[in-house]
């Protein structure tokens, strides 16, 4: 099963990298960009067809390692086979 875990900074946490990207987009003339927040995407393949089990494993992965929950939120998406 394919899965995707997206890790993003919590609202209110300063993101100087996002700010720098925002500035670069502006200098490239990309119009209408009012804010950029940088995050991470993990594309994960997980064995078995048990969606609940996979979701529990991914939650554990996110909590234990992929995200630092002091500053980051995560979102789990499960794909098809």
């Amino acid at each position: 099963m394919k899965a995707r875990v997206t890790v993003t900074l919590k609202p209110g946490i300063l993101d100087p990298q996002g700010k720098a990207i925002e500035g670069a987009l502006r200098s490239l003339g990309v119009g209408g960009v009012t804010s950029v927040r940088q995050g991470k995407v993990f594309e994960i393949e997980i064995e078995g067809a048990d969606r609940a089990g996979a979701e529990a494993a991914l939650k554990s992965a996110a909590e234990k390692l992929l995200a630092n929950t002091v500053i980051e939120n995560y979102r789990i998406e499960l794909g098809g086979q």
């Binding site: 300063l14 100087p16 990298q17 234990k64 002091v70």
Partner: protein
């Protein structure tokens, strides 16, 4: 003082640290590999040195914090053992849950490698007894992610409990944004845990312990630790 220096792949300050410990204590520290599961018997002080463990992959210190040896380090700290975590070590200690907060990218997005001034906030801890409260020391920093942040409640607790031991300051001890080179909240350069036995700090006192390096401001930390164990013995 029997010390143990934890070595992860990508750590590069372990020899500087071992040298400073040897000069201070006259004893060779044990170098403990990340894959080990136990600390040498009779260890008094565990040091997590600086560097770029696991290439700073994922988040600085994130992977090292989950290495096998860290269970032993957590157990050692839980029993009251002294842990000194410098630079990447501070990041590892935060990721391992030994200290609160996170070290974020420096506010100016630059890697900073130079001497900074630190105001020592307290002298009544094992780590700072070699200094006077309010004393300013000059030590090097070398980091890209040293910008300490924590939620408001945690910062308030750190401050009210006197757990900030080192703060970036001017040469005469003024706390000023112009001297806070990485943007850390409240100019925080080093903190201790609730129990006071784990110190995390971004600067490198181990690099200013010999006259040949130009300054010896870092000696106080090591001399203080040595005194602490002499008195305890």
């Amino acid at each position: 003082m029997k010390s143990a220096v934890v070595v992860f792949p990508g750590i590069n300050r372990e020899r500087d640290m071992a040298r400073a410990l040897r000069l201070a204590s006259g004893r060779e520290p044990a170098m403990v590999w990340h894959a080990d599961t136990a600390l040498p018997a009779g260890t008094d002080l565990v040091v997590i040195p600086g560097g770029f463990s696991y290439g700073d992959y994922l988040r600085c210190g994130a992977i090292a914090a989950r290495a096998p040896i860290m269970d032993a380090v957590r157990g050692f700290a839980a029993k009251g053992g002294l842990v000194l975590a410098i630079c990447n070590g501070f990041q590892i200690a935060c990721e391992a849950g030994l200290l609160p907060g996170v070290l974020m990218r420096n506010a100016q997005l630059r890697f900073i490698c130079r001497d900074v001034y630190l105001r020592v906030e307290r002298s009544d801890t094992p780590f700072t007894r070699g200094y006077n409260a309010g004393q300013v020391i000059r030590v090097p920093v070398a980091h890209g992610e040293g910008n300490y942040i924590a939620d408001g409640e945690t910062i308030a607790r750190l401050e009210s409990e006197g757990r900030v031991l080192f703060r970036y300051s001017s040469p005469d001890g003024m706390i000023d944004p112009n001297w806070n080179h990485n943007g850390a909240m409240n100019g925080i350069a080093g903190i201790i845990n609730e129990r006071g036995n784990v110190l995390g700090m971004m600067p490198h006192p181990e690099n200013h312990v010999e006259a040949s390096m130009g300054r010896t401001d870092g000696r106080g930390l090591f001399a203080g630790l040595l005194d602490h164990f002499k008195v305890a013995a």
